[in-house]
Symmetry: C2
Subunit: 656 residues, 2 copies
């Protein structure tokens, strides 16, 4: 008997939960659904498969949809056992549902619901079904996600300001449960990411009246819970932390305690922001943003290496064809969406997903191509958001950074086409033509850098486009040196102010070999948040901001998200550049380990690679590398290289 899955039209599950996610933001009593096109799931589908049965078999179809099962022209209801004689069985399961996406589960010996079924929506040809490892039991329903739950008791409770303040050991995404020990009272519960927020009845984002029957509040971000008008002896308070259990496959421990703390806090931050999808933050926005999620792909690869959350997030972001608006309305986020497919493919060699998503990649590029001006540069339409970063970019005419992203998209299209055995010639030509135009119009020989705009005449230089030119290898060797000198190492070019774009800058610095500077910046910037008491990394951090304003953002007293996915990038930087772990082929069955031992006195680390792990231990003289995978190469900084033996301890005495 095969493993049965709940099956549905591919993408429907993601579109359904994407709406739940993007409509879940709450701000002081009202809901704030994301302000972009929110695409619906399908309502009427037919699942199809033909079996050739050697003997009679029985199966039943479970579904909450309206519909029936057709076996060789005979109809049967759902939830009843169907006897199917030997021979050819042409099976169709017809299902319609309004409130949620139609899904079915088939249990049977020979006939069961798995990834080999096909489905149609009466619009496009048959496609392989959608399924998830989270929905494999007949009593489940794919429209009701089952979160894992862990109960936390307060680590500290304190009566103050006319109520009871409970502190949990860290930030959670939890339902606060209030049990009155004697008589029940109406109580308002204020949930804060900080003590200050929980105690501020006016500005606190989330405040709830617990549901009378259960005493539970809705699930939300919470580290501190303030129970107004309640005394300690009256109640028991719990936090029911609810999460998607995605196992962590990495550890990091070194001789530097600040770095160790940064890793731990980054890990916790990232796990909180990794649920059904990658979201930006757990208090705010709780939305699936393409640019943020693209960065999460990199961290994921070095922390959880979970292929499925990438898939879900990418299906949720892109929506249905035809594409009519940009991902999150942002031009650059559409372009990251294309780039993300390659990042995903390189990490997991996930050809099944590539095949599924490739037609949408093509239609995405067609959509973008309709926005090109005469030089082949992409420009925003009315209402398109040209974001790149919160920075003073010269957005007159086509913006250079967008063209860098677009060029990389053409390259990715060419590469991914080749993987699927489709000709990518046309994409390659577009890539070459666009990069040529970029050099011609944006490279400023005198400034030794790319300028934001060639139409304004201002020849304004910012770091952004130049960083992309390095990362996407659009600048040649000579230009790269020039950019390093005239932009990245030039204090007169305004600094990056967001952790979001710091990710790209630090990666560019790593690639240029400036590891020492990167490590310093990680320790000072992320370490700076720790000094302020952070238990998760923030959306934004200005080391010079006064403590009393450190939670401010958007002119809002507690507007800042204190647990924001893009704060977790040290995990990627440490894994990729300091431990030097990188796949040498898509999926990482061939991989390199190139630890930069000079930065560490001791190391005890573990990272995921392909389906296995690599462990690195270092005590200052002795390097031990273990892996359960064949295909690894160890590169030492002195130029020596060794192939790693799976299942063995590979040891080198380096400074004996």
């Amino acid at each position: 008997m095969g493993q049965s899955y709940w099956i549905w039209y591919p993408g429907d599950m993601e579109l359904y939960y994407a709406m739940q996610q993007n409509f879940s933001r709450v701000e002081r009593g009202f809901g704030w659904p994301a302000f972009w096109k929110s695409e619906g799931f399908r309502h009427r589908v037919a699942f199809r498969r033909t079996y050739r049965l050697e003997q009679e078999t029985r199966f039943s179809v479970i579904s909450d949809s309206v519909g029936f099962v057709l076996v060789n022209d005979r109809k049967y209801p759902f939830q009843e056992e169907i006897i199917c004689p030997a021979g050819e069985a042409v099976i169709a399961v017809h299902a319609g549902c309004i409130q949620e996406f139609p899904s079915i589960y088939i249990s049977g010996e020979a006939i069961c619901s798995d990834s080999d079924w096909m489905v149609e929506d009466y619009d496009k040809p048959l496609v392989p079904v959608g399924y998830s490892k989270y929905f494999t039991l007949p009593q489940q329903r794919p429209s009701r996600w089952e979160y894992s739950q862990q109960v936390y008791l307060p680590i500290r409770s304190e009566e103050c300001e006319g109520g009871l303040l409970c502190e949990f050991e860290t930030e959670l995404t939890a339902q606060i449960e209030v049990s009155f020990l004697r008589e029940k009272k109406a109580v308002r519960v204020y949930c804060g990411e900080s003590r200050e927020e929980a105690l501020d009845r006016e500005h606190c984002y989330y405040s709830w009246l617990p549901e009378p029957d259960t005493g539970r509040c809705p699930r939300c971000a919470v580290r501190f819970a303030f129970l107004d008008g309640v005394k300690a002896e009256e109640v028991q308070v719990k936090a029911l932390h609810q999460y998607v259990d995605i196992p962590v496959k990495a550890d990091f421990s070194c001789s530097d305690e600040v770095l160790n703390s940064i890793w731990q806090v980054a890990e916790h931050t990232f796990r909180l922001c990794s649920g059904i999808f990658f979201i930006d933050g757990v208090k705010r926005d709780k939305w699936i943003w393409g640019g943020d999620a693209y960065q999460s792909f990199f961290v994921n690869q070095y922390l959880m290496a979970d292929r499925d959350i990438n898939r879900r997030t990418w299906l949720a972001l892109r929506g249905n064809d035809p594409m009519t608006t940009h991902v999150n309305t942002i031009l650059d986020y559409t372009l990251y969406w294309i780039l993300g497919v390659q990042v995903h493919y390189e990490a997991y060699a996930d050809k099944e997903f590539l095949e599924q998503i490739y037609p949408k990649m093509c239609s995405t590029m067609e959509f973008c191509e309709a926005q090109l001006e005469e030089h082949g540069f992409i420009v925003g339409r009315e209402k398109d958001w040209i974001y790149i970063d919160w920075a003073d970019l010269d957005k007159d005419g086509p913006l250079c950074a967008e063209q860098m992203l677009l060029a990389k998209c053409w390259k990715v299209m060419a590469d991914m086409s080749r993987v699927l055995g489709v000709s990518g010639e046309d994409y390659q030509e577009k890539y070459l033509a666009l990069t040529e135009q970029i050099q011609k119009y944006y490279w400023d020989e005198e400034k030794g850098a790319y300028i934001d705009s060639f139409t304004s005449g201002k020849r304004h230089v910012t770091r952004h486009a130049n960083i992309f030119a390095l990362l996407f290898e659009i600048a040649d060797e000579e230009k790269r040196s020039s950019i390093m000198k005239h932009v990245l190492e030039n204090p007169e070019i305004p600094q990056i102010t967001t952790p979001y774009f710091q990710f790209y800058e630090l990666e560019a610095l790593c690639r240029a070999g400036h590891l020492s500077e990167v490590l310093e910046r990680i320790k000072s910037y992320w370490g700076g948040m720790l000094e302020r008491g952070a238990v998760t990394f923030w959306e934004e951090f200005d080391p010079k901001a006064p403590v009393e304003e450190q939670y401010d953002m958007y002119g809002d007293r507690f507007g800042k998200s204190l647990c924001h996915a893009w704060g977790a990038s040290p995990i990627y930087l440490l894994g990729r550049y300091f431990m030097g772990i990188r796949p040498l082929c898509p999926g990482g069955n061939q991989f390199a380990v190139e630890p930069q031992l000079e930065f560490f006195e001791k190391l005890d680390c573990r990272f995921p690679v392909a389906d296995g792990t690599v462990e690195i231990k270092w005590d200052g003289t002795r390097l031990e590398v273990r892996t359960d995978l064949t295909g690894g190469m160890l590169y030492l900084t002195d130029g020596r290289e060794f192939s790693l033996q799976a299942g063995e301890v590979n040891c080198w005495e380096l400074f004996a």
Copy 2:
């Protein structure tokens, strides 16, 4: 204080209920959702309007959606009173909902929700909101339709075949309610359109176990209810007939009792099939079919003259842009959808709707145009259904009848464009080019008729294309005479076998002045069903079928729908051709009354025209015509004409 309506994205309400309707078919215990693309409503919309307030005002927004109200950049929750100061108030109401379409209701003095609000879905530009006269109260919810209800008690009950058979006075769409007078029992209730069906436990379409709390079964078609294993003294049985209350504005009574009965039964048939939408039949399919609904437009105009059910049905059928499949998957049904817009406009001068639907008419024609072959003829794609009629048509290559419909579509596009002040030149040219091609390729001089196919070489003549050539005036005077002689009056051309296409044939005969033959056919064909005991008109009727097989269809013992909308066409034929009532301008403010008195000894009739009515009384010598509208002209068959005075009795002694 203005009238507030619930408002939503236009079309969403229709798409939502269309799914409820098209997923409501049940066949012996399982649901049978319609087998075509079922389009979703929107999930995330923003309602927008700017007010200039002379003084402070208050309002509140009611909604079950997730969202908030934005007034000049300040946010407010739903369901709370908002105080809005004098001056400009830019208001946006943001709403997201997954399970149903987002909708809002605003109550306030100066600010309330009416048809002047605009809405966007983050995909297309702002459009006027959708609304309905059925949803005007804050305690309502547009996703919960409130049916009118009338309670029927059985007119006859009889213990037989081990249970109790209850007969109601006519067919209903009802919940059967079973109240046990002493102790409750589990009982299975079989609902039949006929006595035979209710008593046939195996083949009966609907059988239910009443809900334990209420004793009620789901709403379904029922004339006979059989309660298995129950005795008369144990129970009280009721039928709760649930319907959309669309007032009937016509009466028909004449000296011929058969005709009177035909009218009554046609009226009841049509009302049962006219709910939120025009559906084909009340037991089966209960689906919204374009071709059936198109015919209902004609009957509606002469019975209820209800503009809104047309609007709802047309929005439900067409779905969202882009169009990717044909209406109900049927090529001809797409073409009827275009034609229906003109029928609607001619009847109600509904420019508001024409403006709303016109962009979809254009995109529908673009969709069709992509299916033209080299001569400009339309052909089906794989999986398109080329229907026309259940008849032996020669479907090799492009089918003539489809080209007739397409030509008429181009004409309708030209006409409707002109109404909106848009140039219809291009459409007019396409019309002329296509009709020329039709004459060239399909007119067979020797046969004196249009042939089905010019590619097969068979030169097969059927009535269908030739009837369309008459109705759509594609044939000139000479060809029309030829068609009458060589096709319609030629017994060697196979007869029309469905009431569906009889509608078109009888109309063509009426236009050709063959009223006497038409009246005879109405009386014999529809009268024939009455002789078989029909209380509603059937999907199909073969006068020669043996009584014991009269409910058979599709090889199914009770497969025939006994209450089918297209059976109601005598209402239209009597009103339009026998009473001679027809609009002389769109909306009918100018109208003709041209009664064919020679067919009637007596008449006492009333018909809707524009916003009023026309009454016709005739006692064999004296004709009385009353109308509450100015603009009517009476035409007598002897050539005399009189203008009708509103509010007066217009009298003529004709055979004194």
